[in-house]
Amino acid sequence: MNGKPGWRELAEGDVVPAGTAEQFETGDWRTERPTWHPERCIQCLLCWISCPDSAIVVKDQKMTGFNYHHCKGCGICAKECPVKPEKAITMGPER
């Protein structure tokens, strides 16, 4: 409890500004780690639209990698990746 704000320091009425969870790390939940292989990636963005943790980083409409701060390692991105025979995202053990 120490270090957390006292009641006078909190905004009135159980309110916070939008999007503060951005700062919260859920990456440490991972036991499996996704790896992106850009050379195989076809930029279909199916990994991005399927991620439950908004952890696929897209810039200028292109997949650029993972936000490991948030990625929980569920493996949906790898499963949904349509590239064959070898997928553009693979899962491996978290080091």
Partner: protein
């Protein structure tokens, strides 16, 4: 309809850093629906997994105005927000169009929140209610709900020596909602982004009450590996266990008719919650389930207009 590149250029309205299970289908649904809105969005969530996991003080994953009130009243709460908006609009205090969305799980929608939802629909508020339907009370540890299918193992209607999970058929909420005669009702899944975002876009283009019942596999309550969330939902469609369809101004349209309908068992056997159904002695129950799936599917297809022009 916006393609993925277009959607990817929009602002992410649900951040990471929320505490949903790895592989959960609910935030996928939420992200896709929020991305489908070109106008500002205001969200009300019913108590449930999504609500608790996305808003543990002082962290909120919502990048849009968001309100949680209680479990059974998302419909009424959003009615109030929309009523305030209309009042302000009339007074010229706000001019922008806003999409009002309620997210409720099946507990907060099929069961305890049904009255509140029904009232909101009947009163004609301009809002979209989305049920992220994982077919049980997952937030509190997989208790049965009105959405739980027959035969599913839940902690309050478990499979045992003499009973094989839920005894009753699930309630057909989509049809109950459609009976309200609202302009737009649809069923979709987590696992078909094109279907889901298209339906959300359509809902946002219509004024009045809209409802979407979105099947959301739950790795914890259904029992499967986290990466399988989306393909299990697709199996529900391919086996006609959960048809994709919409009712627009009373006109039914089935969006996906599998050429070769998969057996319901193909869907059921992917999940722990149905494992007991495949034990010797339960063959009859599987047949009953398949018969009911077929009956509901045929009844649904029969609701489509007899003559359809075009493809």
């Amino acid at each position: 309809m916006a393609n993925l590149k277009e959607l990817a250029s929009r602002k992410e309205l649900l951040t990471g850093g929320h505490r949903m299970c790895p592989g959960c289908g609910a935030p996928i649904i939420v992200r896709q629906i929020l991305l489908a809105s070109k106008d500002p969005v205001v969200v009300v969530a019913a108590t449930g997994c999504l609500e608790v996991s996305t808003t543990i003080f002082p962290y909120t994953a919502w990048n849009v105005p968001y309100l949680h009130n209680a479990f059974e009243n998302a419909g009424a709460t959003l009615s109030g927000v929309e009523a305030a908006y209309s009042a302000f609009k009339k007074k010229g205090k706000i001019s922008q169009h806003v999409n009002f969305i309620a997210f409720g799980g099946d507990g907060g929608t099929y069961d305890i929140g049904l009255q509140s939802l029904s009232g909101a629909l009947e009163r004609g508020h301009d809002l979209l209610y989305v049920c992220y339907n994982n077919e049980a009370y997952m937030n509190t540890g997989v208790q049965r709900s009105g959405a739980t299918p027959k035969g599913a193992n839940t902690t309050t209607e478990p499979a045992g020596k003499v009973r094989q999970g839920k005894v009753e058929w699930r309630k057909d909420l989509t049809e109950i909602v459609a009976a309200h005669g609202i302009p737009y009702v649809a069923q979709s899944i987590a696992g078909n982004w094109a279907d889901l975002t298209k339906k959300a876009e359509k809902a946002f283009s219509i004024r009045g009450p809209k409802f979407m019942n979105v099947l959301q596999p739950c790795r914890l309550g259904w029992g499967y590996k986290p990466e399988d969330t989306l393909n299990i939902a697709r199996l529900a469609v391919e086996s006609c266990v959960w048809p994709l369809y919409e009712v627009e101004n009373g006109v039914y349209k089935v969006n996906s008719k599998p050429k070769a309908k998969k057996p319901a068992a193909d869907f059921l056997k992917t999940q722990e919650r149905f494992r007991h159904l495949f034990k010797p002695g339960n063959e009859q129950l599987l047949i009953e389930i398949q018969t009911e799936v077929d009956r509901r599917w045929e009844a649904l297809v029969a609701k489509e207009p007899a003559v359809r022009t075009g493809a």
